[in-house]
C-alpha cells in the first residue's frame, strides 16, 4: 500500500528507450527515453502536435513505433520488451496489468452495454465466470468511483461526461493493473467535475500504488496528479524533472514560455 521508498536498486516498472515514431518524413516523436518506477505518476505536457499523444499510443502498443524499446517489468518473466511480444501476449497485458483511459470516455466504453457489463468485461475474460461475483465487484467499483450502484444496469449513454469518465476508470482498474496510460483524463469536462475526478484519481492511485503516465495540455492537472513531468515540443523531450520544479523553475526556454502562457486566476 505504501509506495516503496528510497530503494536505489529498484527495477523500473517501465523503461522507454529511444522511442521514435515517424509519419513519413514528419516526426511523431523522436528518441524519447525515460524510466518509470513503481508507484510513480508521470505527466507528459506539450501543445497540440507536440507528439505527446503519439508517444502515449506508441508506448501502449496502439501504433507500432519505428524504433526503440518499451520494456515492462512483467509479473511472470521480469522485464520484457513489449514491442517484441507476440500480439496475444501484448493484448493480454492490455487486459491485465495495463490500462488505457481514453479521451473521450466513449472511446473506452461499450456504449450499448450496461455500466455493470462494462466493468465486468475484463473479469469475464477468465474461465468459469460467476455472475454474482462479477456483479458484486462491479457494484463495489461503481462505489469507488462515486457512482450510485442503483445505476449498475444503466447504459453509459445515460451518464454525464464526468460519470462516463469515472465509469471508464472503474472498467480499467477492476483487474488491478500496475500501469495506467491516460490521455487527457479531464479533457472535455466541466471545471467542477474535473476537481472531483482529480481527487478520485489521487485517492485511487494512492490506495492501489498505481503507476501512471498522463498526457495532458493542462498544467494544473499535472501539478495535482503527477510526481514528475516531461515537456515535449515538436516530437522531442525538451525538459523533464520533478513536477513542481519544472513548473516553478523551468530551465528551458520553451518550458518558460509554456508556463508563463497559462492564465492566472
Amino acid at each position: 500500500m505504501i509506495k516503496e521508498v528510497g530503494a536505489q536498486d529498484m527495477t523500473p516498472l517501465l523503461q522507454v528507450n529511444s522511442l521514435t515514431k515517424m509519419y513519413g518524413a514528419r516526426i511523431g516523436c523522436k528518441d524519447v527515453s525515460f524510466d518509470l518506477y513503481p508507484g510513480e505518476v508521470m505527466g507528459i505536457v506539450g501543445e497540440s502536435g507536440s507528439g505527446k499523444s503519439t508517444l502515449l499510443n506508441a508506448m501502449a502498443g496502439y501504433h507500432a513505433p519505428d524504433q526503440g524499446e518499451v520494456i515492462f517489468d512483467t509479473r511472470a518473466d521480469g522485464p520484457q520488451d513489449t514491442l517484441k511480444m507476440s500480439e496475444p501476449e501484448r493484448r493480454m497485458l492490455g487486459r491485465t496489468d495495463w490500462a488505457f483511459v481514453h479521451q473521450p470516455a466513449r472511446d473506452g466504453l461499450r456504449m450499448s452495454v450496461s455500466a455493470g457489463g462494462n466493468i465486468g468485461e475484463r473479469l469475464m475474460a477468465v474461465g468459469g465466470p460467476h455472475y454474482g461475483e462479477i456483479r458484486a465487484q462491479a457494484a463495489d467499483w461503481l462505489g469507488r468511483v462515486e457512482i450510485s450502484d442503483s445505476r449498475i444496469d444503466d447504459r453509459p449513454s445515460a451518464f454525464s461526461g464526468g460519470m462516463q469518465q469515472r465509469l471508464q476508470i472503474a472498467r480499467n482498474l477492476v483487474t488491478g493493473p500496475r500501469l495506467v496510460f491516460m490521455d487527457e483524463p479531464t479533457g472535455g469536462l466541466d471545471v467542477s467535475v474535473q476537481a472531483r475526478l482529480l481527487d478520485l484519481l489521487r485517492g485511487l492511485g494512492r490506495e492501489m500504488g498505481l503507476s501512471a503516465i498522463i498526457v495532458t495540455h493542462d498544467l494544473a492537472v499535472v501539478r495535482l496528479l503527477a510526481d514528475r513531468l516531461m515537456v515535449m515540443k515538436d516530437g522531442h523531450e525538451v525538459e523533464s524533472g520533478l513536477t513542481d520544479q519544472v513548473l516553478d523553475d523551468p530551465q528551458h526556454a520553451y518550458t518558460q514560455l509554456l508556463v508563463s502562457s497559462v492564465l492566472q486566476v
Binding site: G6, Y37, A195, D199, Q256, S260
Partner: protein
C-alpha cells in the same frame, strides 16, 4: 539534517533577452537534527528561494543541497518525492490542493500518503483543525471557501505528519493578530 554547500542560484529568463537574475551565491548552511533556525532579511533577499532550493522546488545552479543523505540538487524526482513524504515538510502561505476537497481531507492527506489508516488520519486532522480554531461545521468545506481557511488549513496539513524536518515560509503572513498564536503553538 540539512546541509547546503556552496549553493548558487540564478534565474535565466530565456524569453526576455536571456536576462540572468542572480539570487544567491555560494551559500553554506548547516541545520542539525532538533535545531530551529530562523531566516530573516528584507523582501527579495532570497529567503523563500533558499527554502525552495531545500525543498527541491527550485533547481540549484551549483553546490550541494543535502537533506539527510540525499542531494536534492541532483536526485531523481522519485527520491525527492519520497524525502518529502517521509522527512521534509513545507508550509507556505499558499495552498496547492485539488479544489473543492474538504478541509479535513486536505489535512489528512499527508498521513494517508505514509499509510496511516483513514480513520486515524481523519482523527488527527480533526484535532489539528480544532486547535487552529476552525469550527467543526467548516471541516467539510473546501479551505478556499472560508476566511483564513487556506492559511490555517495549510498549517494543519504541514503538521499532520510528524516530519523530522519542516520548512516554514511565512506561514502566518496573512493571518490576523488573534490567530497566529494558535499557529505558532501546534503542540
Amino acid at each position: 539534517m540539512i546541509e547546503l554547500e556552496n549553493v548558487s542560484k540564478s534565474f535565466t529568463l530565456h524569453n526576455q533577452g536571456s536576462a540572468v537574475i542572480p539570487v544567491m551565491e555560494r551559500v553554506n548552511l548547516t541545520v542539525g537534527a532538533g535545531e530551529c533556525v530562523g531566516l530573516v532579511g528584507a523582501s527579495g533577499a532570497g529567503k523563500s528561494t533558499l527554502m525552495r532550493l531545500i525543498y527541491g522546488n527550485y533547481l540549484a545552479a551549483a553546490g550541494r543541497v543535502m537533506v539527510g543523505d540525499l542531494d536534492v540538487a541532483q536526485a531523481a524526482p522519485r527520491h525527492i518525492i519520497a524525502r518529502r513524504r517521509e522527512t521534509l515538510g513545507y508550509v507556505s502561505q499558499f495552498l496547492r490542493v485539488v479544489p473543492r476537497v474538504a478541509a479535513l481531507d486536505v489535512v489528512a492527506e499527508p498521513l494517508l500518503a505514509v499509510g496511516t489508516p483513514l480513520e486515524a488520519a481523519r482523527d488527527k486532522a480533526a484535532s489539528l483543525l480544532a486547535q487552529l480554531n476552525i469550527p467543526e461545521r467548516l471541516w467539510s468545506l473546501s479551505p478556499t471557501t472560508f476566511s483564513g481557511g487556506e492559511q490555517r488549513v495549510n498549517i494543519a496539513r504541514g503538521f499532520a505528519y510528524a516530519y523530522p524536518a519542516l520548512l516554514l515560509d511565512e506561514p502566518t503572513a496573512s493571518l490576523d493578530a488573534k490567530n497566529p498564536r494558535h499557529g505558532a503553538d501546534p503542540g
